[in-house]
Symmetry: C2
Subunit: 144 residues, 2 copies
Amino acid sequence: MTQKDDFDLREFLPYLLNQAAEISSQSFQRIYKGRYGMLRTEWRVLFHLAIYERMTAKDICEKAIMHKTKVSRAVQRLEQRRYLQRKPDEKDRRHEWLTLTSQGRAVYEDLRAHAQQHDQVLMQKLSIEEITVLRRALNALSQP
Amino acid sequence: MTQKDDFDLREFLPYLLNQAAEISSQSFQRIYKGRYGMLRTEWRVLFHLAIYERMTAKDICEKAIMHKTKVSRAVQRLEQRRYLQRKPDEKDRRHEWLTLTSQGRAVYEDLRAHAQQHDQVLMQKLSIEEITVLRRALNALSQP
DNA sequence: TGGTAATAGTTGAAAATGTAACTAACAACC
DNA sequence: GGTTGTTAGTTACATTTTCAACTATTACCA
């Protein structure tokens, strides 16, 4: 198993990004999955609603860059668990406004604390300068 | 949809990493999916075999940090398309040595060219310094 | 006003993934 | 040599995701 080719996977950004994303998500996944049986799509929707307070599914699709069926199903499951409420828009009944319940907000607060703690651990692998540049670069790469 | 909370998702590394990984993989995905109907797991296995020439499934699991069932199924599909060959190890018949066929190598050459081109496009979003730091940081975060 | 197009969101079937249990081969120990 | 444990890899089943088709509502425009 000796390297032959001059092409190095460890320089190919989509590969590297995926690897890093996968690994650095794992321990946070254990939290939201273990404590609340949630999926990645679900904590994402939950966090968006906590941060922006009031959104439609469409808004979440755009902000989180998730497909509408993913969002739709995540919303369903969050609703079943009474983490969020839906209210149809009065003027345009195609829209549904989503807001967290107090229970949903409580779950968010708990997960957020863990998220921040998790982030601290990750950042210990990097220098301050690396963190700054990394965030900037990741944001740049996140623009489609 | 105004931001309320002080917690910013755009600073949470697992989120950011996932976003960047997702978006920056998309156009490469169109290539390997469109041209060869391949999955992400499959191009990864293909690339590893092209680069390291001769590996067992276990080797690939470790290098690519993929679960053995993912690798097993990717290998199956690549074999069906005659992109790789299996040879049981003489001394320990639990191991199977995997190598690309010439057809597999041809597919790799094609995809690699596209990968490199794609990487160039991505890197245009970043400065030289950002790229260096980014790669270093991503490698650091990829250590479990 | 009526017909067509566009938009928000849902659903069902197919494909892919994750989990755990499984087989086959070898190792180690008595 | 036979029992037990370990390892490489596969398979079966449940869970998720994807893709395309669908409903319901509003917008556009002749």
